[in-house]
């Protein structure tokens, strides 16, 4: 039998209708950016800030583009290499974040072209921004990278502060409220900075509206997450990775909210009729952390061939679990609400971390909780060569899942910009062998009278 030509780019068919429509929001973001450029609106390059920075910047009339996404895009269309070469030639170590190096290389080309977007820029390029919004959350690259861009453009950088308190420390008397107070003060400082930069005042009413809408959108996205606990799973990761765009980037957009209501309806229907996303669900797997965007079809293959349903994934992309009512009581100030939303993201699984004595709460503990909630048979651990935050705690999560919950992991390497690192054939073989491991651990859990 002739072996098939190895394909690097392989799209997923997805299982939800709404997932197939979600591409609309990605396009909308691009169109908004183009429109903003044409209208002369200020444009900001922003890191993902888990809603901490983007709502404020957008409320002040700034349009945001996300160089992290641009990196994924350039990689997918095989046009990152030139940028990476330039970044290397400039002296940046090749071990740095792949998205950062892609952006740095692009920024040099932009600078060389008198800050006009080069004609041959992949995907229409990124325009020179008015502001660079870095973030201290999740990893160091996310503020150091933007600081390094100062070499190529005289654009101010604002670093969003988001405390990452330890698990034990989260519960210390007063620490939580001090953390929140710190965030709120920083948000005030950010607004003051923006007002000076843009020469206009913050419209707090508009901001309050956006925050209220955000909470609603995130709530529905969360409700969808809850529905996915059903057996068989009504929705898989391949769907999520499309569906996530609106709540992650546009939660303040009423269209996003309407979209999630339709997602909810579609998923609920499946749950009510006990229809699985894949026809013969035999195994339920989790995925951590950043997917191989160019090869999501791989998960269709293992679904089809082994009955593996990817039931939950990528903690960092998910909507927050709801903030307890008592913590929101009487809070109307939009900055106080934003602080609580973003802080919630990084602390929501601290109780699980305490239960298993397994810090950190972020990137890690979610999977310990989800193993139980989603009745997971295994974890697909995807360490990345040039993305450390997605990789730092993977082995630790693997250890904790195995030791405490008798859930095994399969490790398959990849990279965010060098797509050759992910070898689909090898990955397939690993998963094939892993099925037996999952069977074995299922027996172990049974013997230990565990719930799944």
């Amino acid at each position: 039998m002739q072996s098939e030509k190895k394909q690097i780019t392989k799209k997923s068919a997805k299982t939800l209708h709404t997932a197939r429509e979600a591409g609309y929001f990605g396009k909308k973001m691009l169109e908004n950016a183009l429109k903003a450029r044409q209208e002369g609106k200020p444009i900001g390059w922003s890191m993902v800030t888990w809603w901490e920075g983007d709502l404020i910047a957008k409320a002040m009339g700034m349009e945001l583009v996300f160089p992290e996404n641009y990196g994924a895009f350039c990689a997918a269309v095989r046009r990152a290499e030139r940028h990476l070469d330039i970044s290397g030639a400039e002296g940046f170590p090749s071990t740095l974040c792949g998205y950062a190096r892609n952006c740095i290389g692009y920024a040099k080309l932009l600078a060389d072209n008198k800050h006009q977007v080069p004609e041959d820029a992949p995907g229409g390029g990124l325009p020179k921004p008015t502001l660079l919004i870095g973030s201290g959350a999740a990893c160091d690259a996310r503020y150091k990278w933007f600081q390094a861009l100062g070499r190529y453009m005289d654009v101010p950088v604002w670093t969003m502060e988001l405390p990452q308190t330890g698990v034990r420390e989260y519960y210390l008397d007063g620490n939580r409220s001090q953390n929140l107070r710190f965030i709120v003060r920083e948000l005030h400082a950010f607004i003051g900075f923006l007002e000076k930069l843009l020469g206009k005042k913050m419209d707090y009413d508009r901001l309050a509206e956006m925050v209220a809408q955000t909470l609603k959108t995130l709530r529905v996205a969360y409700e969808v997450d809850l529905l996915r606990r059903a057996v068989p799973s009504p929705m898989v990761s391949q769907d999520f990775w499309s569906v996530m765009i609106p709540h992650f980037y546009l939660p303040d957009d009423p269209e996003a909210y309407a979209f999630y209501q339709r997602v909810y309806e579609e998923v609920k229907q499946k749950v009510d009729n006990k229809v699985g996303a894949i026809p013969n669900e035999k195994y339920r797997m989790m995925f951590s952390e950043l997917p191989p965007w160019h090869s999501l079809g791989f998960f269709d293959d293992i679904g089809r061939d082994f009955g593996i349903a990817m039931v939950i994934e990528s903690w960092n992309y998910h909507a927050i679990t709801p903030i307890p009512e008592q913590e929101l009581e009487g809070i109307t100030d939009p900055l106080e609400l934003i602080a609580r939303i973003s802080y919630r993201k990084f602390t929501e699984y601290n109780d699980t971390a305490v239960k298993y004595d397994a810090a950190p709460g972020f990137f890690n503990a979610a999977y310990l909780r989800w193993a139980e909630d989603y009745r997971a048979d295994g974890l697909f651990a995807h360490p990345l060569m040039s993305c450390r935050p997605a990789t730092y705690t993977l082995l630790h999560t693997k250890n904790c899942l195995e030791d405490r919950l008798k859930v095994p992991s399969v490790v398959v390497e990849g990279d965010i910009v060098d797509l050759r690192v992910f070898n689909a054939e090898e990955a397939y073989s690993k998963v094939e062998a892993f099925v037996e491991t999952m069977d074995h651990y299922r027996e172990l859990r049974e013997k230990a009278a565990m719930a799944w």
């Binding site: 201290g136 005289d154 502060e161 001090q178 810090a359 904790c400």
Partner: protein, 386 residues
């Protein structure tokens, strides 16, 4: 307690450098506590005030990482992987407490998982803001109060203001002595080598503060009265970047025709450059010093109006060092996968070359087994300076 038979000065520094836990174990045998900590941010004064020995957790370039590979990925900072590897191998089993810190990603993630696998009676994770905005300073002070309370609870006593002021004075005195030691590296040739200085500094990080200060006094006196004139070499280097904690590397540089006269690293001037101000509330002085005066690229400096201004804001103190220590070359030491220093490389190079200083940049693998290939680079750099 040092006895008459105990070595003094450089010999003592060498002894402690080679067997770093020996004094800590004696301390424990006396019924006192030893607190391990990461990096330059957990305030030593808080530990000293409670009669605890602050013990700087470091890696080991001579030990290949084996156990650690089952817990931390190879794409991360090798130094912190080494620290964890040593911890798992029991090298830090004498610690009564572990104080992790969000100095950088490597430190933070390692610190957070450390306590799951390596148990100590007392643990604290010190979160550190990324900027020195006003709100960040206040927040950091609040964090220090939580640390203080955790330590007090463990010690079973409180740190009164007087004791804290005493501790600050003691550590400031030690900082002053380290600066005096650095003065001895200004002459040409410097009165002590980079390797000797490294042993002394690491020794102070393994000793109670007063013993560390006594050691510094002994070394300063010894070095000032040395009879042999060291060989004069071409290069006078400033080392900038990731820390160096092994004399195999400094020795290699010195064998290649280079003097090491000053280090802007976490085991160089960074913890010692500035004294804590005695403020009305001593914790204000502590917070200010540790967040703003320990100069490391992990703390974001607000962008200047232009790139040039930005460089000046971030690196101006390097010019001071280069001038006063008559530096004629800079070695930018990057431990592989270090993001904090990795992102700085082109900027710091621009700044230093702007001062007319040649810069040698090496990403190294934090392993003595991988040092020999670096010899050619250091030698060529010396040849380029000469």
């Amino acid at each position: 307690m040092t006895t008459a038979s105990e070595p003094k000065g450089l010999a003592r520094a060498s002894k402690v450098y080679r067997n770093r836990a020996y004094r800590a174990r004696e301390w424990k045998a006396e019924g006192k506590k030893v607190m391990g900590y990461f990096c330059c941010y957990p305030p030593l004064e808080l530990m000293t005030a409670l009669d605890m020995l602050p013990f700087r957790i470091l890696g080991d370039m001579d030990e290949s990482i084996s156990v650690g590979d089952g817990y931390l990925p190879t794409v991360m900072c090798i130094f912190y992987r080494s620290c964890f590897d040593l911890g798992m191998k029991g090298r830090y089993d004498f610690l009564d407490g572990f104080i992790g810190a969000h100095a950088c990603d490597g430190a933070e993630r390692t610190a957070l998982i450390w306590t799951h696998y390596i148990k100590s009676p007392c643990n604290f994770h010190l979160d550190i803001p990324h900027t020195s905005h006003v709100a960040a300073r206040d927040f950091f002070k609040e964090q220090l109060i939580h640390l203080k309370e955790t330590l007090e609870s463990f010690a079973g006593s409180t740190i009164g203001e007087a004791r804290l002021r005493d501790a600050i004075a003691l550590h400031n005195r030690q900082r002053g002595l380290v600066r005096d030691l650095y003065e001895l590296r200004k002459p040409d040739p410097p009165l002590l080598t980079g390797s000797e200085a490294l042993q002394v500094l690491i020794a102070t990080m393994c000793l109670p503060v007063q013993e560390g200060s006594t050691l510094l006094e002994e070394v300063i006196a010894e070095v000032k009265t040395r009879r042999e004139t060291p060989e004069k070499k071409i290069g006078r280097l400033l080392i900038w970047g990731s820390l160096i904690d092994n004399t195999a590397l400094t020795g290699l540089m010195e064998e290649s025709g280079l003097h090491i006269v000053v280090e802007d690293t976490a085991i160089g001037v960074r913890p010692f450059r500035h004294d804590i101000e005695q403020t009305q509330d001593p914790l204000d002085g502590l917070a200010r010093h540790y967040l703003e005066e320990v100069k490391c690229p992990r703390t974001f400096v607000e962008t200047g109006a232009s790139y040039g201004e930005d460089l000046e804001n971030r690196f101006h103190y390097l010019r001071e060092f280069a001038t006063h220590w008559k530096v004629n070359g800079v070695y930018a030491n990057i431990i592989r996968n270090c993001d904090i220093h990795g992102y700085e490389v082109p900027a710091v190079r621009d700044y230093l070359e702007g001062l007319g200083l040649p810069v040698l940049i090496i990403e190294q693998d934090y392993s003595t087994a991988a040092l020999e290939p670096l010899r050619t680079r250091f030698q060529a750099f010396a040849e380029a300076i000469g």
